[in-house]
């Protein structure tokens, strides 16, 4: 599960400048969300990232992992490098995480997980897979509404509200996003409680958005948990885009490697 979250974080940090356009005032909220969804799901990516968790008691935990993604997030593989406790653990997600396999090197076992495992927190972090809306979750699970335009984190942004659809079982009643007007990168996201639409549970902020090989990339992002008073920061240590990634990378055989 954890790996999916990490992967999703990477996806979120990838913003495609090729989509930059000057939009007329008449742009709809659906178009903004669609555009954002496109830019946070690159065709292929390979990254090394570091997650730092600050617990409610002030303790720090760090994870480093490699990740691979293909087909705009349809295929994902994540392998933990640190800490030693989880080194070698790997997660394979196919079909936009509808199929998940976990590998545990201590037992040499590969186990298929049900999709509800996405609700588990990642190694004590403030992220769950659902937080990031990898795949088309922001489109499929929520109805959207443009609330206006605001300056946020020094960027001119669209302010968008996403409300959970009636038939959706997603873990949040609504989200508020500030999406950069120039490149459709979501710079701030507020997550509200599943039942109480006014109870703010988490806030995600992207920092250091840089242009790397023509792609704007959030090199650092932090999730602030307002309930537990904890925070989790993800930093990209290495990132490559538009690579040729063979399908064999996204196989159970490679998961065991």
């Amino acid at each position: 599960m954890a790996s999916k979250i990490i992967f999703s974080l990477i996806l979120l940090s990838l913003v495609n400048f090729s989509t930059i356009k000057t939009y007329a005032e008449t742009i709809t909220s659906q178009e903004i969300v669609n555009k954002m969804n496109e830019v946070i799901n690159p065709q292929t990516a390979q990254a090394k990232a570091k997650i730092t968790i600050i617990t409610s008691s002030g303790k720090e935990r760090t994870f480093i992992y490699d990740s691979f993604t293909k087909n705009r997030g349809e295929k994902n593989l994540i392998r933990y490098l640190e800490p030693k406790r989880v080194k070698g653990q790997a997660m394979l997600m196919l079909n936009n995480a509808d199929d998940i396999w976990a590998y545990f090197p201590r037992t040499k076992r590969v186990r298929k997980l049900a999709t509800h495992a996405k609700r588990q927190k990642w190694e004590g972090s403030d992220f769950s897979y659902e937080d990031m809306g990898s795949g088309d979750a922001f489109i499929d699970e929520y109805e959207n509404k443009l609330l206006g335009e605001e300056k946020k984190e020094n960027y001119d942004c669209y302010k968008i509200e996403l409300k959970r659809k009636k038939d959706s079982d997603t873990g949040y009643s609504r989200l508020i996003m500030w999406i950069i007007k120039d490149n459709f990168c979501p710079v701030v996201m507020n997550y509200y409680d599943k039942k109480d639409t006014k109870f703010l549970k988490k806030v995600l902020i992207q920092y250091e958005i840089k242009d790397i090989d023509g792609i704007p990339t959030g090199m650092k992002m932090t999730m602030y948990n307002k309930t537990d008073n904890t925070q989790t920061t993800m930093e990209l240590l290495e990132i490559k885009y538009n690579l040729e990634l063979d399908d064999s990378i996204f196989s159970e055989r490679n998961l065991r490697r």
Partner: protein
């Protein structure tokens, strides 16, 4: 002659010297990874008015070396040291009504000793070809989709206190053939003294929708000890079975089945059916039903062999039908608490296993498992068998 001897001595010394110089360089160049953990553990047991402690220190050192993408070497040594009560009599941990049938002068025969040990637990080389992976040497083998029980796993014994704990390595030759994306074949051969009594396993794995499934055939001898006479009986065993795991109506579901053909005695089958679910907030619940027709359906029929074959891991259960249910919840970002319940449906007995894990520091975990038996006398989880607990610290390096 003397010169030749000196020459060979020089050559030998030179080779050893060269090896000492080159080996570390070679290992460095080929990315030798050394890691593992240190695990001090304290086990407490109270039975009637007695209270005993066994402490152990385990050091596991793993080596992994990727010579290339096609060649990987892996191994680990376990160093284990025991202190405290290292000699246990099995008869103390079975119902009195059964242990009383043993003659007084034979009681010492039922002692188990925990002795310090150094074990080459795993040592294997994996050769990866385009069409197959070949793994040769001592390696972990863990078939099956079950959590607490694995009917198709004839190699390992699971401790219900912590079913996810690592399993030992087995001497085996293994070939994995991936067939396109959806299928694979696994062949395992575990050599014994003759071809006939060696273990053989074939597993065909596939994917169907959001389900993984496999069909499995196994041939492996079954060792059963008669604990009245201490005679060992080895019987030919063949197993046909299969398993699947996937999702149905939002629940994780799995099934594992094995039909055991035993030469010169009754056949039996084992099956495990499980479901699990994760709630928003991370609370995880799972439940598994295990049926073993080799077990007994009336606790009044349990005998010395049933108990001791179970204690020594020759059989997986005493009673025929059991349920394992578990709930875990992340209390804080570093603490997870849970409770497992094992119940025998045949005799109504129950064992409660509260657990607690705490990430003390980076790479330092503390786990505590308690065990309370709550069944009536003579049943699978007889309350007079005592209660206990395990405190385990793991320091990973």
């Amino acid at each position: 002659m003397k010169y030749r001897y000196v020459f060979y001595r020089c050559i030998k010394t030179f080779i050893i010297f060269l090896s000492l110089i080159l080996l570390p360089l070679h290992l460095y160049a080929s990315k030798l990874d050394i890691y593992g953990y240190f695990q001090p553990q304290l086990t407490d047991t109270s039975s009637n008015d007695d209270f005993y402690q066994l402490s152990s220190n385990k050091l596991r050192i793993d080596f992994k070396c990727e010579y290339s993408k096609s060649v990987t070497f892996g191994a680990n040594y376990n160093f284990i040291q025991y202190s405290g009560k290292t000699q246990w009599n099995m008869l103390k941990y079975i119902p009195e009504i059964i242990s009383n049938t043993v003659l007084a002068n034979q009681i010492d025969s039922y002692d188990i000793l925990y002795e310090d040990d150094i074990i080459l637990d795993n040592a294997y080389i994996k050769l990866s070809f385009k069409s197959a992976d070949i793994t040769l040497g001592k390696q972990q083998i863990s078939p099956g989709t079950g959590y607490a029980w694995n009917p198709t796993d004839v190699f390992n014994y699971k401790d219900l206190l912590d079913p996810t704990y690592e399993q030992p390595g087995h001497n085996a030759y293994r070939i994995d053939f991936p067939l396109k994306n959806k299928y694979s074949i696994v062949l395992i051969y575990t050599p014994e003294s003759t071809l006939e009594n060696s273990g053989k396993l074939m597993r065909i794995k596939g994917k169907l929708g959001h389900f993984d499934y496999s069909l499995i055939g196994i041939e492996k001898e079954l060792l059963l000890t008669d604990y009245f006479t201490f005679d060992d009986t080895i019987r030919k065993r063949k197993i046909l079975g299969g398993d699947f795991v996937g999702e149905f109506l939002g629940l994780g579901v799995w099934e594992e089945y094995a039909y055991n053909f035993i030469k010169d005695t009754d056949d039996f089958y084992e099956s495990v059916t499980g479901i699990d679910y994760t709630f928003i907030g991370g609370t995880y619940v799972m439940c598994e039903y295990y049926r073993n027709t080799g077990g007994k359906d009336d606790y009044k029929k349990y005998d010395l062999n049933d108990w001791l074959q179970f204690i020594t891991a020759q059989t997986k259960t005493i009673s025929r039908n059991q349920i394992y249910a578990s709930l875990t919840h992340p209390m804080t970002d570093l603490i997870t608490a849970g409770t497992s319940v094992i119940t025998s449906l045949n005799d109504g007995s129950l064992s409660l296993i509260p657990s607690f894990t705490y990430s003390l520091f980076e790479n330092v975990d503390l786990s505590i498992f308690l065990n309370f038996n709550l069944g009536k006398k003579g049943t699978n989880y007889d309350r007079t068998l005592g209660n206990g607990g395990v405190a385990r610290l793991q320091v990973f390096f």
